[in-house]
């Protein structure tokens, strides 16, 4: 006699569907996670610059209502906060695979991009200390990147 459903099909509840991360992540998935966090820092830095650009257009001593209203009417501010949203979604997708202790410090790259973008956009001065700081941060992140291949 042929059963239309197997016993396993009937017993399987939606909660039994395997989570994405139930198996050990493959090296390719870990690498993808690392790149996603990298992209996440680019969006995060762009968000900060856009929000700063938007905040510079505020009247002196704005009220909270004016500030919130401006988020929806001023394109740079709106885009900035939207970028924050995108970077958060990317971070969540990235965190599905790989180790938090390895991926999370990569977010420090945001400091690097913000410094570079501030020089380009707001004509902030670049000085030896900033350059040294950026170099050390990139060095630290590079070590994490290499570690993710061996870990």
């Amino acid at each position: 006699m042929k059963f239309r459903y197997s016993k396993d099909d009937i017993l399987r509840k939606p909660s039994d569907v395997a989570p994405l991360n139930v198996t050990v992540s493959t090296p390719a998935q870990k690498r993808r996670s690392l790149w996603l966090v990298f992209c996440c820092t680019l969006f995060g830095a762009a968000a900060q610059i856009l929000i700063k650009t938007g905040a510079n257009t505020f009247a002196p001593n704005p009220t909270v209502a004016e500030m919130i209203g401006r988020i929806f009417t001023h394109l740079p501010l709106f885009t900035g906060y939207a970028f924050y949203g995108i970077s958060t979604v990317m971070l969540v997708v990235a965190l599905r695979h790989g180790e938090l202790s390895l991926l999370y410090p990569v977010i420090a790259l945001t400091f690097v991009w913000v410094t570079v973008l501030s020089v380009m956009v707001f004509h902030d001065s670049m000085n030896p200390l900033k350059l040294l700081g950026i170099t050390i941060i990139v060095g630290g992140v590079a070590i994490l990147g290499r570690g993710s291949h061996t870990a």
Partner: protein, 119 residues
């Protein structure tokens, strides 16, 4: 210019709260399901808690960086990475390797130097 203790307290608390944001996002991300991805994301209280922790920490940072020296406050922001590393070990059983400590140490020093350059 000196950094008032209140600024340091705001930033330290902010980085502490933010480190839990990372933990909740990781815990939530692990529970995403392939079937019904959107539903499993929207109904995921861990992801919501993670985003909330980030928002709260952002407000704390905002209060913290109004006064004080960035060379002091920047490393305190980055101290959240140290917390996150310990939570990774505690909650997810991730190994803490020498590579991670060296990399984290470099990142903290780099951020401190960057803070000096920004003054």
């Amino acid at each position: 210019m000196t950094t008032p203790f209140s600024s340091m307290a705001w930033v330290m608390s902010g980085s502490f709260i933010g480190s839990f944001g990372a933990v909740f996002l990781k815990a939530g991300a692990k529970r995403l399901q392939r079937e019904g991805l959107i539903r499993s994301a929207v109904t995921n209280w861990r992801l919501a808690a993670g985003v909330f922790a980030y928002l709260v920490s952002a407000i704390f940072f905002l209060f913290g960086v109004r006064n004080g020296e960035l060379s002091v406050l920047y490393p305190l922001v980055a101290f959240g990475y140290v917390w996150t590393m310990f939570w990774s070990r505690l909650f997810f059983g991730e190994p803490l390797t020498r590579t991670k400590f060296v990399a984290l140490g470099l990142i903290l020093v780099g951020i401190a130097v960057l803070g000096l350059g920004n003054e």
